[in-house]
Assembly symmetry: C2
Homo-oligomer: 240 residues x 2
C-alpha cells in the first residue's frame, strides 16, 4: 500500500473486481444554553449537492482507521478536536451517492457547547449549528443518518449516562432535567425526576452554587464516573 | 458499473486512490434444546487461515446492499435462508486481514434451533455449531467480533424482547428463564423472574401444555407482538 497517494495525481490503483468508495459521516450533537438540541452541519463547496447542507465527513484513507478518519474530517471541516465519538451505523444503499457506489460509516459525537466554542469551518464553505427540529433539507441520505442518530441518542440515554457528555462538568438538576426533556422530546415531572435521578447515587452534590444568576442560585452537581463504572457491571438501568 | 463482474476474469477496475475491500461477517446465535447458546462457524477452505474456523461471510458485490450480501453469504456458506438479522458494527483496523486493507461490516443473526434445522455447508469446507464458552480460536479478528456480538445480545435483551427470536413460537416459562440465564450468564430467581415477566403483559398464556415430557407438562406461552409495539412507543424497559 502506498502512504503517499494523496500527493500523487493520476496514480492508478487497479483491482480485479469493482470496489465501492468508503466514507465517514458525523452527526455532532450539542446542547446550547437555552437547552436546545443542535446538530452541526457544513455547507458543501463541491459537487454533488454543492451549496447544500450536509453532515461533516469524507473519504477514508487507505492507511487510517475509520475512527481516525471521522476525527480528521471533524477537525478539517469544523475545527472540533476532541469529542465523545461512537460508531452509529453503516449505510450502504446502492444509490445513496449520485457519483458511484459509496458506503458510509456514520458516527455520532457529543459536544459540550457550554465549555467548548466551535471554530469556523475550514475545509467547508460554512459550518453552523441547527436546532434538531428545524433542520434544512440535507444532501445524500443524511436525513436518514440524522434520524438514526437521534433514535440512538434517545435510546442510549435510557441505559447509559451518555447525557453528561452534553453538559458542563458542574451542572444543576434543572439543566439535567432539561437535557432529558429535550432529547426525549417530552416534559418530565420535576419532583419525580429529581427523586429518580438522586436515588441512582450517580450524582455528587457539590458545596457550590450557580453564579451570576438573577434567581435563587441552584446547587451544582457532578457526575460520579467511578460509581457508574461499578454499577454498570451489574447491568445498570438509567431509566428516567 | 458492471453487473457481470463475477463472470469476467481479469477485468481491471482502476481508481485514482487505493480502495479497501469490503466484506460482511455474520455472528449467528442459536439456543439448542439443552439451553446452550451456540454460534455457527465455518471452516475456511481458502487462504488466509485455510482450515481454520471463522464467521460465515465474504466480499460485498458492487451491486448488492450490505444486508443482501450478509444474507447471500449465510445462504451460500451455511444454508440458512431466513433469520432475524441486524447490523452489529463495522470493523476497520488496518491489519485485520493479512492480504490487504479489508473493512468488514458485521451482522448478528438469531436462529430458532428448535424449529429450524441448519443444512450442511455448501461453500465452506464445513459448518458447525459451537457453544459460546468453548469456541475454537478464530481467523482474522473474529474473536473480537464475536465478543462484540455477545455484548450486544446481552445488552439488547434488557430493553428489547429480542430473545423470543431464539425460542420456538410456543414456549414454557422455564425455557424463557433458561434463555435469559444462558445469555446473561447468571442464574435468576424463579419466583422473581416469573413475577416480572408476567407483569410486563407481553406474554399470552395459551390453553396448551407441553407434550411428550416425563415431568408434569408446563403451560405454553406466546409472545404478544402487538402489545409490545404499543409499549415500545413509551420507552418500554425489558429489565429482568
Amino acid at each position: 500500500m502506498n502512504n503517499e497517494h494523496s500527493t500523487l495525481s493520476f496514480m492508478p490503483y487497479t483491482y480485479e473486481f469493482p470496489r465501492p468508495s468508503i466514507t465517514v459521516d458525523c452527526v455532532v450533537f450539542g446542547l446550547d444554553r437555552e437547552h436546545k438540541l443542535k446538530i452541526l452541519l457544513i455547507q458543501r463547496n463541491l459537487e454533488p449537492f454543492k451549496g447544500e447542507w450536509a453532515l461533516p465527513g469524507g473519504f477514508v484513507r487507505i492507511d487510517e482507521t475509520l475512527e481516525a478518519a471521522a476525527l480528521r474530517e471533524l477537525r478539517e471541516e469544523t475545527g472540533i478536536e476532541t469529542v465523545f465519538l461512537e460508531q452509529l451505523y453503516t449505510f450502504g444503499k446502492l444509490d445513496r451517492d449520485p457519483r458511484e457506489r459509496v458506503i458510509t460509516v456514520a458516527y455520532y459525537a457529543l459536544v459540550n457547547l457550554w465549555e467548548y466554542q466551535i471554530r469556523a469551518a475550514t475545509d467547508a464553505s460554512d459550518a453552523a449549528w441547527f436546532t434538531v427540529d428545524a433542520l434544512p433539507s440535507l444532501a445524500f441520505d443524511h436525513d436518514r443518518i440524522v434520524q438514526t442518530a437521534l433514535k440512538r441518542l434517545q435510546g442510549k440515554l435510557r441505559y447509559e449516562p451518555i447525557g453528561f457528555e452534553l453538559l458542563p462538568e458542574k451542572f444543576t438538576l434543572f439543566q439535567l432535567q432539561k437535557l432529558y426533556e429535550t432529547v426525549l422530546g417530552q416534559e418530565l415531572d420535576k419532583r419525580n425526576f429529581r427523586k429518580k435521578i438522586l436515588n441512582m447515587n450517580l450524582l455528587i452534590a457539590l458545596d457550590e452554587f450557580q453564579q451570576d444568576v438573577s434567581h435563587r442560585a441552584a446547587r451544582l452537581y457532578q457526575f460520579d464516573r467511578l460509581q457508574y463504572e461499578q454499577l454498570k457491571e451489574k447491568g445498570f438501568n438509567f431509566e428516567i
